[in-house]
């Protein structure tokens, strides 16, 4: 009698462990994008542009080298190279991979793009390292590597997810359903600890990621006064006030980060 009482949960536990899956990995179903809400239209005749440059004062620390010995496929993909982290991408005194966005000043809702933002895993790196999406816009996550990756997002407002992509060429879609309180959602791969990326999740399309020379441009902005924010994964966030008139192209929205000591 006692034996039978114990046997049932034991057998069930191990049956679950042993028979939980088939012999082939299952494809993760793609998430569906939200239908766009009634959107504010921006008159192209009055739309303005804010552009500028992210400057970097001082010499940034060298990006940490990446040891890929844990995965032969990653080693092969980076053969002959010395892969490093992408914390500081800098050319000509500029700073790349800075997420610049309108923090406040906008009103209304904006159409949600149906074109997905493509987020690739290539050479055991996340490509791009920093990018932005709108709430409801699908992110197409692609595994271009001949190895397994997991994509683990740790948002604070949206739901955390950890998606497996064991097969080369596999695609998975994910959509954030709410504006992220801290704007930035970190992504990481727990298989390859060096792989990380940052995604800005906003409820409007007014954002950009700076190029390696620090330049950025946010077009099609309605005339008005805004708080512009610039975020860097190591150096923090800076803000500035900008005012743009109709059809104005403002090109001096410049930020300067100090390489040592964080944002100024």
């Amino acid at each position: 009698m006692h034996l039978r009482l114990f046997a049932v949960p034991i057998v069930l536990s191990f049956a679950v462990a042993a028979c939980g899956g088939g012999s082939q990995p299952a494809e993760t179903p793609a998430a569906t994008s939200e239908a766009p809400a009634a959107a504010t239209t921006v008159d192209p005749a009055t739309a303005a542009t804010v552009a500028g440059k992210i400057g970097l004062e001082g010499t940034p620390p060298a990006n940490a080298p990446i040891q890929m010995k844990a995965d032969p496929a990653c080693m092969a993909a980076n053969k002959g190279q010395t892969p490093t982290q992408e914390t500081f991408i800098s050319e000509g005194g500029g700073l790349g991979n800075v997420f610049v966005y309108v923090q406040s000043g906008l009103s209304g809702t904006f159409p949600t793009p149906t074109t997905p933002a493509v987020f690739d895993q290539r050479g055991c790196h996340y490509v791009p390292h920093v990018f932005g999406v709108q709430v409801g816009q699908p992110i197409e996550i692609v595994n271009s590597d001949p190895t397994l990756h997991n994509i683990h997002a740790t948002p604070k407002t949206n739901t955390e997810f950890n998606t497996a992509q064991p097969i080369q060429g596999m695609k998975t879609s994910h959509t954030f359903t709410a504006k992220e309180a801290d704007v930035i959602v970190p992504f990481k791969c727990d298989v390859h600890g060096w792989m990380n990326a940052y995604v800005g999740v906003l409820d409007h399309p007014y954002f950009a990621v700076s190029k390696p020379d620090g330049s950025f441009s946010i077009p099609n902005l309605p005339p008005g006064s805004y708080t512009l924010a610039a975020w860097h994964e190591r150096l923090g966030t800076q803000t500035m006030q900008v005012t743009v008139a109709a059809k104005e192209s403002k090109a001096d929205a410049n930020f300067t980060f100090k390489a040592a000591g964080g944002a100024n």
Partner: protein, 323 residues
């Protein structure tokens, strides 16, 4: 005797499992396999070895070893059930089996829920209990337990101090697990000082749990020193007590040193994992000493009051043990 040997083998396998679990946390690989009980969609036992890369090596390896220990425990429980005349031993075997099953479920749940601190801490805490169960089974099936060379010591103070020490070590392990799974291992970055002083300048939950672990370490060292000192001075001719007391003292000093090096090395993976494993060994050794201090309560012959030297006693057969 074969049952005793097999129980020791299961205990040793559990140590290996604790090493594997420690490596999972130390390398940050807990979510390297996002699904459970499958692994990237494969049945966990058919997951291709060629894919055991990066964090998957640690996480999936931990799952495989855990399954192995699970199967070993099934065999252990049924062996005890078939071979043991002591009813409480049969229950102990199935308790260990239930513990390893729950442990497996906790491990799965913590992966599916993205490693919440309470679940991961419970997983770590139950791992220690399961290890203690296998060690206790090993002890209870040993000839030394069944047929002691001398009358068991009846020392109330030893029972008190040893029990307190074992309980303190377990609480300390739980605090350590909480610290570990709330990413507070370097919340206080210096050692032996605390931000250059004796108290933190500010308190956060992470600093508090880290500080509690350091204070707990001091308490554990004192408790173990008290237990070992008691054994050395009051029972110097009882090797079944003196030996675990000496080992316990060595282990806790090793453990304190490893704890310091965890900070100084900024959580080096091997040192961090060794700290987890030596913690488990410290607990198990203290448990053995404690259980031996209670041997007299299990019956089977005349008791020997403390401070009385006694001749070798007649063997205590299994029939003498309480059911």
């Amino acid at each position: 005797m074969w049952l005793h040997r097999y129980a020791k083998f299961v205990s040793a396998a559990t140590v290996l499992l604790i090493v594997a679990g420690g490596l999972v946390t130390s390398t940050g690989s807990g979510l390297a396999v996002p699904d459970w009980p499958t692994s990237y969609g494969w049945n966990m036992f058919t997951f291709p070895m060629k894919h055991m890369v990066g964090g998957i090596f640690y996480e999936h390896g931990h799952r495989l070893i855990a399954s192995g220990v699970g199967f070993l425990t099934i065999a252990l429980a049924f062996w005890i059930w078939r071979a043991e005349p002591r009813r409480w031993m049969r229950r102990l075997g199935f308790t260990a089996l239930a513990a390893v099953c729950v442990q497996g479920l906790l491990g799965g749940i913590t992966v599916l829920w993205f490693l919440p601190t309470p679940v991961s801490t419970a997983h770590a805490g139950l791992a220690q209990i399961f290890f203690c169960l296998t060690v206790a089974i090993s002890l209870f099936t040993s000839r030394g337990w069944d047929e002691p060379a001398a009358e068991p010591v009846d020392d109330r103070l030893l029972r008190l101090v040893a029990t307190t020490t074992t309980a303190l070590i377990y609480v300390q392990i739980l605090v350590g697990a909480t610290m570990r799974h709330s990413d507070a291992g370097l919340a206080i970055p210096d050692f032996p000082f605390v931000f250059g002083g004796l108290l933190p300048p500010e308190w956060t939950s992470q600093i508090a749990v880290h500080y509690a672990h350091r204070v707990g370490a001091l308490l554990v060292v004192f408790a173990i020193a008290a237990t070992a000192g008691h054994v050395w001075f009051r029972h110097p001719h009882r090797p079944e007590l003196r030996r675990p007391a000496t080992i316990l003292m060595c282990l806790v000093l090793t453990q304190a040193t490893l704890g310091a090096y965890v900070i100084w090395s900024e959580k080096n993976v091997l040192i961090n994992t060794a700290h987890v494993v030596v913690g488990a060994l410290t607990l198990a050794t203290s448990l053995v000493l404690t259980l031996r201090s209670y041997r007299v309560r299990f019956g089977g012959g005349a008791t020997v009051p403390v401070r009385v030297r006694q001749p070798v006693a007649p063997s205590l057969g299994r029939s003498g043990a309480h059911a």
